[in-house]
């Protein structure tokens, strides 16, 4: 489903964020991406939904070769990928409800379904009472959950979650993890960057550890940790 072949990424300021990454993630896998701050986790994930282009190497997502993809096709690839951004990226001038429904409107979902499904996912992440608030009227954790709601609203075949529990208390984090597990159970691939040792160790999945832009460990039902 997601495949990287010898992927390198150097940013324009000369930082080598990824250095020869080879990896294959199958449909329906649940992958934790761990590694120290600045290791390249976000860069890895940005490659998948093509916010960032590799300097070298090839990336395949859902059968598309991202390197050869025409610009016009990108939105259609992204529609099958739900992204929880590390910095949330909510549209600042519209309500939480509209932020989530926007993602559905963008794929021209029927109006009635938009209403129903938007309220559904917002309820799942516990923001039922906050639907009319603007993003800057929410607490950090609430914004993070709004970002999660938007990522899952279209039932994408892949979910990319960049530290989706960084601003959440342990209980809420667990709720979110369970939500993702359930979605995974129904067939969605999940790639989740996280620093949360408890979750990684208690809910064992495949763990890919990145350090200094390289995959240093790739273990099924692995533990949290990257120094090998």
């Amino acid at each position: 489903m997601i495949e990287m072949q010898d992927v390198w990424k150097s940013y324009t300021n000369g930082v080598h964020a990824l250095r020869g990454v080879d990896v294959k993630i199958d449909q329906n896998e649940f992958v934790y991406l761990v590694g120290p701050s600045g290791a390249g986790k976000s860069t890895f994930m940005k490659m998948i939904y093509r916010e960032v282009k590799p300097t070298k190497g090839e990336i395949f997502v859902n059968g598309f070769n991202l390197g050869k993809l025409k610009n016009k096709k990108i939105p259609y690839v992204r529609r099958n990928i739900g992204v929880v951004f590390q910095d949330f990226r909510l549209l600042p001038k519209i309500s939480i409800y509209e932020n989530v429904s926007f993602a559905m409107e963008a794929i021209e979902a029927p109006k009635k379904l938009v209403r129903k499904r938007t309220m559904e996912v917002l309820t799942m992440v516990g923001l039922k009472d906050k639907v009319k608030s603007l993003p800057n009227q929410l607490s950090g954790g609430e914004q993070q959950r709004a970002s999660i709601a938007r990522a899952i609203v279209n039932n994408p075949s892949v979910i990319i979650a960049d530290e989706p529990t960084g601003n959440l208390d342990p209980d809420t984090s667990l709720d979110i993890l369970k939500l993702l597990e359930e979605i995974n159970f129904r067939g969605t691939t999940i790639v989740m960057a996280t620093h949360n040792k408890d979750i990684v160790n208690n809910y064992r999945k495949r763990v890919i550890a990145i350090e200094k832009g390289q995959i240093v460990r790739d273990e099924y039902r692995g533990e949290y940790g990257y120094e090998n």
Binding site: N71, P75, L91, K93, F102, A103, E105
Partner: protein
Amino acid sequence: MKISTLGRHVREGIKSVFRNGWMSFASISVIAISLFILGAFVILTLNVNHLSKTVEEQVEISVYLDVVESEEQINVIQTEIATIPEVSSITFVPKDEGLETLSEGMGELDLTEYFGESNPLPDKFTLKANKPENVDIVVSKVEAINDKFEMMPIEQVDYGKKTVEQLLAFTSGIRTVSIAIVAGLAFTAMFFISNTIKLTIISRNREISIMKLVGATNGFIRWPFFIEGFMLGLIGSIIPTGVLLYGYWKLIDFEESTVFGVTQWEYLPLNQLTFQLIFLLCSIGIIIGVWGSIISMRKFLRV
């Protein structure tokens, strides 16, 4: 695109005008003021053209007759002149009248008193050409009449060659300058409008890139901006058009009332510029509004 999606775009575009309240206000005022100035100059230019045309049409040709012509001969000559197709009007000015006019030209000094009965001036015809450019043709055709008569009844044909040439040079100069000013102002207005719209859109680059990352196509993102630009342009051009047309109407009304009128000249009637003004201002406002939004977004859409 589904119809319901189009509906969504229109709604979002209009909502966005209100959401970006201050920015929308800034854009609309820039559009309105630029177009107001442009429109005022367009009206001025059209009037100057109108005025020069009126002035040009008043160029007269004087045909002085030999002193000894009889009334009968005068009639013959008049008929002869009347056959020239480029002549639009003929007036006979007997020598007494000529002296009076001359006398008036001298200020308040009464010339008739000096000359008494012994008026030395010749009789003359005053002609007008149908177009200012045809004055020369008329002159030569009138001069050619002399050849038809033995006694050469026409003493001299005079149309203030130098004055007419200066006048034509002046009016065509004024026309060129005013068109240049209007063109310059039109470009300036376009620059200001697109510039302001660019500024308002640049501040929304993050929003645009988020939309893209969430899977929206360029078209989907562009539509509401398109509608928004259209609305800003529409509102921003309707206001100055309305104000200018109303103001011009009031001005004509005021000037044409014999009691208060200050200026002498004849204004271009309102209905002769209404359509041009609406068309010019609204098309600049709306096209640049829309174009400005679309162009400014372009680079942010490449995410």
